[in-house]
């Protein structure tokens, strides 16, 4: 049953001769209705991901980056949430699909890895069973095939003694191992898009290095596109090809990774990059250097924000910022920013 749905959605996309980006998100709004008012967690965000590309969505807590990724897979509870806009995956609007059709996509064409590997794995099932589950569900494998493939997947994510580990339970594995299992599970069905929501935030730095290394290796081997959601600009710089910066539920800037780090145009991005401590700072300056701060705090999302969401903390704020919300404009080829004052054309450096 699920197989036919799966084939329908997959072939429908390819039959239509889909040529656009793999995923195109248009004017996504995810609002939550609460007793205190409507929380505009994501408020009009658009971006796209091409096949095989790594796009990072960055921002601080509460900026809506995780809600964006959950909205794509429709993992938002409705109500109290409500998703509007369009999420085109290979030309099909995911918001038009039935729950059953969505289930055929989740874990198959689009899969997700989460921050906390312990709570995302079922503690009473062996890791082999959990990997096998998706394979049996989506690829119609029998138990034997699924287990063989699970061992293969554990090998792929460099878990030693895969044949033995496949029969172990999540609590018998270390944090790094569990994240590897999560990745194996997510990649089992060869997804076209992998959504990684803070995949290394809960891990120690040496383990984080292992996992990032693994993700890079697997991406070049399997060719999945990655939507990386994180607050860590170091991880972003290492992994992403393009970056979307979010602030208070809105997209404030989008550019290639090199361009964004070299020439940030939105004052928020500039402030954020200045606030990040850099390793090696003591080698350049003698004594202690100061980090640049962004004064103030994030606006309350329960009230509609008039004008630019960053106006209250922006060093370059003027009257227009407080009354008119800036549109996301092209400031240079491939570089977009939502700021009234950001220079429009690239200054030749």
């Amino acid at each position: 049953m699920t197989e036919t749905v799966l084939n329908k959605t997959q072939t429908a996309a390819s039959k239509a001769g889909h040529t656009g980006p793999l995923l195109q998100v248009e004017d996504l709004r995810t609002h939550f209705r609460t007793i205190d008012g409507t929380v505009r967690a994501v408020d009009g965000v658009s971006f796209h991901i091409a096949g095989g590309e790594t796009l990072a969505v960055v921002g601080e807590s509460g900026c809506g980056k995780s809600v964006t990724s959950m909205s794509i897979l429709r993992l938002i509870q409705e109500p109290p949430g409500k998703i509007t806009g369009r999420i085109l995956f290979q030309g099909t609007n995911l918001l038009d699909l039935s729950e059953k059709e969505m289930r055929a996509i989740r874990g198959n064409a689009i899969s997700m890895i989460f921050q906390e590997p312990m709570t995302s794995l079922n503690p009473v099932l062996t890791v082999g069973r959990q990997i096998g589950e998706t394979l049996r569900l989506h690829q119609g494998m029998d138990e034997k095939q699924a287990e063989a493939r699970a061992v293969e997947m554990l090998d792929l994510v460099h878990i030693p003694e895969a044949k033995r580990r496949v029969r172990e339970y999540p609590h018998q594995l270390s944090g790094g191992m569990r994240q590897r299992v999560m990745i194996a599970m997510a990649l089992a069905c060869n997804p076209q898009l992998l959504i990684a929501d803070e995949p290394t935030t809960a891990l120690d730095v040496t383990i984080q290095a292992q996992i990032l290394d693994l993700m890079r290796e697997l991406k070049s081997r399997l060719g999945s596109a990655i939507l990386l959601v994180t607050h860590d600009l170091g991880v972003v710089a290492e992994m992403a090809e393009r970056i979307v910066v979010m602030y208070a539920g809105r997209k404030v800037e989008e550019a290639t990774a090199r361009d964004l780090f070299a020439r940030p145009r939105h004052p928020y991005t500039q402030g954020l990059l200045g606030a990040v401590p850099r390793l090696g700072s003591s080698l350049e300056a003698k004594g202690r250097s100061r980090l640049s701060e962004i004064p103030g705090i994030v606006p309350n999302l329960k009230k509609p924000i008039i004008g630019c969401a960053f106006a209250g903390r922006c060093p370059a704020v003027t009257d227009i910022c407080r009354s008119v919300a800036p549109a996301v404009e092209t400031k240079a080829p491939g570089h977009f920013a939502a700021c009234h004052h950001a220079p429009r054309e690239a200054v030749a450096a």
Partner: protein
Amino acid sequence: MSPDTAVAAAPAAVDVFPAEVQRGRVRTFIRRHPTIALGGFLLILMVVLAVFAPFLGTSDPQALAPARRVRPPSDVHWFGTDMLGRDVYSRVIYGARVSLIVGLSVAILASAAGLFIGLVSGFIRVVDGVIMRIMDGLMSIPSILLAIALMALTRGSVQNVIIAITVAEIPRVSRLVRGVVLSLREQPYVEAAIAAGTTTPRIIWRHILPNTLAPLTVQATYIAASAMITEAILSFIGAGTPPIIPSWGNVMAEGRALWQVAPYIVFFPAVFLSITVLAVNLLGDGLRDALDPRLAKRI
């Protein structure tokens, strides 16, 4: 929604939901905490009935009238009369007094005793093991059996009923308080207070006790509800309140033999008991949700 504004969509103030209507404070409270509002309303209704019982068209609940035995409900006897001709309506209304007094007293006494035992247990490791094993022992006896056994040792009176039920409820409260105390002791703000030179009694008074009261209040409501049921059961089997005092358990016990001919004698006190217990439980659930910071922090 605007379909083809892929990149340059100005985030204008578009609302996915229709605008909110402003409401008054009472309506806001009811919307926010519907269970507290409903439970509180029903409970206040019962308290009013109990307090103003003499002014609510009742007659003497103990007055016998053999001539008017087992009358069905009528405009004179709204809930009918029992086998001794007593007015069931009057007995049920006065019965609210007994139930509420037992519920409230047990809740207060059991909470106070449990709080003390739980604090001692949570702070003094040496006695913790001993106290908790005693509590485990008490908990292994069903609380209704424990109450019956205690009642068998004394004479039936409202006071003794309260004591018997309280003793049976104490272990549960002590365990709860001990658990809360042990987890609070690990809180960074308690460690910061220790580092700031605060003495242990002051830590208990300022940091532990106030943060124990919220879960304890919730537990107290559940105890009140369960005490009212236990009181009714004890009275029903004749091990509780003396039969001349109108309590819902007594009224039901007296109507038991006539269940098939005069079901209203059992029916009305049962309905009142159910409503009161429901009200207290609703209040407890509502308080738990309102006081639980984890649930409250959700968007």
